[in-house]
């Protein structure tokens, strides 16, 4: 018995040691310690010129130029002048700076190598200063090769750009890069998490899962609140009826929405330390956060994914409330609060989306704000209030920023607290009253809290894994006159409005109709018959059948339109 305990304790201890090592040893990009390990392996033969097929593509030509001029410093695979690449040189040349070829004592026919060496051209975090192929090509043409700047022809510069894009798995053999089309090609889109960050995240997830297992075992032991409850216990009623705590009834959607909101608050606050809300700095600061800041990509992806999942969770929550008739009095005002929260969250999603200030948001911003103009009478004034001027510009960005991090967030925080308070004031989650003389089974809050903790851990691990493997979208910075590129689709949570906009008058289809849908939902408990008291607490009560049909039809239409927009 004793030894088993010891194993339980030793295994996590070893795991955390390993996790700590991974966490603190790795750096973004190439790490010197790793390079040294590689250099101890025998030096492979230097590779020969790259074979090309006929007719050679632009990148193939670039590979030839690269082999002749760039490879010695930037590495055969664009890895940069790291130790493993230098180990392929003759032994006396391993130290490029001290060997007398490229140090302070460089001979006349050579040049002095910068102390930092030559940067990597491929891999995560490479080429951070170039957002488009145009910038990269122009830089190569003007400033490369280092020892003879300006000696490359323009064609050679584009060939090299094509080759470097190919090294980064972003090449397109069909396309011949030129000074005009290259502005639309991204250099570092979709940077995945650096490999060195992965073990730390996975070990963190593992700990969370093990912790959840312990807690679930603990709650199987039966919960006896021996001490006075802690802060988290006190957020709950002492006991709640068992019927209200059933996952098959609540789907856990309300609780999950709160969890995602908390994740959004924390990751959003962290993002604010790096985000620059200026037209010139915004997209670049997101590139830096994504590709250079340790765990910056993770934080951004967590923020992105909790925002997407929050919208979905809220829709599920709404559908659950309608299909169980839970909005019947006394809960009908809380139903309105929930609908307001849904609208506010959609606005938060939209403002957050625009804050990227890259080419991906151009048309969403134009269409989204022009829709406001179509409102009769107040439209023009409302438009100027939202974007802070006659047309989108620097004031637009700062206003969206203010709404996103302050105005809307404050409103959502306040109404969320009100919503939760009302849940308790209205007698908890809807359930039928006990039959006469029957004693309701009640669940103590300690058990409720442990259930919630387990649910949060599962959701948290799903979030972490999603964030590791599916990066949030990012695009090149907004161009002054960038009408030639950009995704013209609305963000997915507004695709349904984009679909309806095709049918005609923008005010009618783009503003009035969505507003009418929300108002119609809000009227359900006030206009149509409600579920009877004894019917509450189960799915599909007969009392509000009409409300269910109307509500689910609205949700289904939104869902179908979104799907249509997605597929088109």
């Amino acid at each position: 018995m004793r030894s088993r305990f010891r194993i339980y304790l030793i295994v996590p201890a070893v795991l955390v040691l390993m996790g700590g090592l991974f966490l603190f040893s790795g750096t973004v990009g190439a790490s010197p310690s790793i390079d040294q390990n590689l250099s101890s392996t025998p030096a492979p033969d230097r590779p020969g010129p790259v074979p090309t097929i006929y007719p050679p593509s632009q990148a193939d030509n670039g590979a030839q130029v690269y082999w002749g001029m760039c490879q010695d410093c930037h590495g055969n695979e664009g890895q940069g002048l790291d130790a493993s690449w230098r180990s392929t040189f003759a032994p006396e040349s391993h130290d490029c700076w001290g060997s007398g070829c490229h140090g302070e004592d460089a001979p006349d026919n050579s040049f002095v190598l910068p102390e930092a060496g030559a940067p990597a051209l491929a891999g995560p975090g490479a080429l951070p200063r170039f957002s488009t192929a145009f910038e990269l090509g122009t830089y190569i043409h003007e400033s490369m090769p280092f020892f003879s700047t300006g000696s490359l022809s323009e064609d050679q510069a584009w060939e090299l750009t094509a080759h470097i894009l190919h090294l980064n798995d972003k090449g397109n053999p069909e396309l011949t890069l030129t000074g005009t089309n290259s502005a639309a090609i991204l250099v570092h889109q979709h940077v995945n998490l650096p490999g060195t960050e992965l073990p730390g995240i996975l070990i963190l997830s593992l700990f969370l899962v093990i912790g959840a297992v312990y807690i679930s075992q603990l709650s199987k032991e039966g919960t006896v609140e021996t001490r006075r409850g802690n802060f988290f216990h006190h957020l709950h009623p002492a006991t709640i009826p068992e019927a209200q705590s059933k996952f098959s009834f609540t789907l856990g959607a309300g609780g999950l929405a709160i969890f995602f909101s908390l994740v959004l608050l924390i990751t959003g606050a962290l993002e604010m330390y790096y985000y620059l809300p200026t037209p010139d700095g915004a997209a670049e600061s997101i590139q830096i956060l994504t590709s250079l800041v340790p765990y910056g990509n993770l934080i951004r992806n967590l923020h992105y994914w909790s925002a997407q999942l929050l919208v979905i969770t809220m829709m599920v929550h709404l559908a659950r409330v309608i299909l169980t008739g839970a909005y019947a009095p006394p809960r009908r005002f809380n139903f309105i609060l929930g609908l307001i929260l849904l609208v506010l969250i959609l606005l938060l999603d939209f403002t957050g989306y625009v804050l990227r200030w890259d080419e991906g948001i151009r048309w969403a911003l134009v269409v989204g704000t022009n829709l406001l103009k179509t409102i009769p009478g107040v439209g023009e004034g409302f438009y100027q209030f939202v974007i802070g001027g006659a047309e989108p510009g620097a004031p637009t960005l700062i206003r969206f920023y203010a709404w996103h991090i302050f105005g809307l967030t404050l409103a959502v925080a306040g109404i969320t607290v009100w919503h939760i308070f009302k849940v308790r004031r209205d007698g908890g989650i809807s359930a039928s009253p006990p039959e006469r003389g029957e004693k309701t089974k009640r669940v103590p809050r300690a058990e409720l809290v442990s259930k919630e903790v387990i649910a949060m851990i599962i959701a948290g691990v799903v979030l972490l894994l999603l964030s590791v493997f599916v990066p949030a979208p990012i695009d090149q910075p907004l161009l002054e006159n960038g009408a030639l590129v950009g995704d013209s689709r609305a963000p997915w949570f507004f695709l349904w409005i984009q679909e309806t906009l095709q049918y005609g008058n923008p005010f009618l289809w783009g503003v009035a109709l969505p507003l009418a849908a929300v108002i119609l939902l809000g009227l359900l408990p006030y206009v149509l018959p409600n579920a009877k008291k004894e019917e509450l607490g189960r799915w599909l009560p007969s009392g509000n059948r009409l409300g269910q049909i109307v509500g689910i039809t609205i949700i289904a239409i939104i869902f179908l339109l979104t799907l249509l927009g997605w597929l088109s």
Partner: protein, 145 residues
């Protein structure tokens, strides 16, 4: 039987949950430290072009507030001092023959020596060189701005 199990299952589970979740929190905290460890690129330049030597003001004195520094032309060559107060970094102002700091009243003489506290150290002197094409180059090294 003797009381063999001194560690009840409930207490053990409670402790284990606390330890694993605590370790997870520790890992998260480590990640947070790394998140804030990013060093943004960009430092202030370490040398400044002061223009052609022949264009140096006839008064023999040049103040460049962007650096900030003061450069004198003497018969032995050029002398330059940083105008950053060594107390807490305000830019000192010319006050007759001396320099005084508007923030906390430190005073320095013409040669940068401390006349009056709270500054404890003199104004650092900076190197002025002349480039091949006759331009004055001020070397600030790793000067704090």
């Amino acid at each position: 039987m003797t009381k063999e199990i001194t560690f009840p299952r409930r207490a053990f589970l409670r402790l284990s949950a606390k330890i694993t979740l605590g370790l997870a929190g520790f890992l998260g905290l480590g990640g947070l430290v790394r998140y804030f460890s990013h060093e943004p690129a960009g430092k202030s330049p370490s040398s400044y072009d002061l223009g052609l030597a022949v264009d140096f003001p006839a008064s023999g004195e040049l103040i460049r507030l962007d650096i900030p520094a003061i450069i004198y032309k003497t018969k032995d060559g050029y002398i330059a001092y940083s105008l950053v107060c060594t107390h807490l970094g305000c830019t000192v102002e010319e006050d007759g023959e001396n320099f005084s700091c508007p923030c906390h009243g430190s005073q320095f003489d013409h040669n940068g020596n401390v006349l009056k506290g709270p500054a404890a150290e003199r104004l650092p002197s900076l190197e002025v060189g002349i480039s091949e094409n006759g331009r004055l180059i001020l070397e600030t090294g790793a000067m704090d701005k």
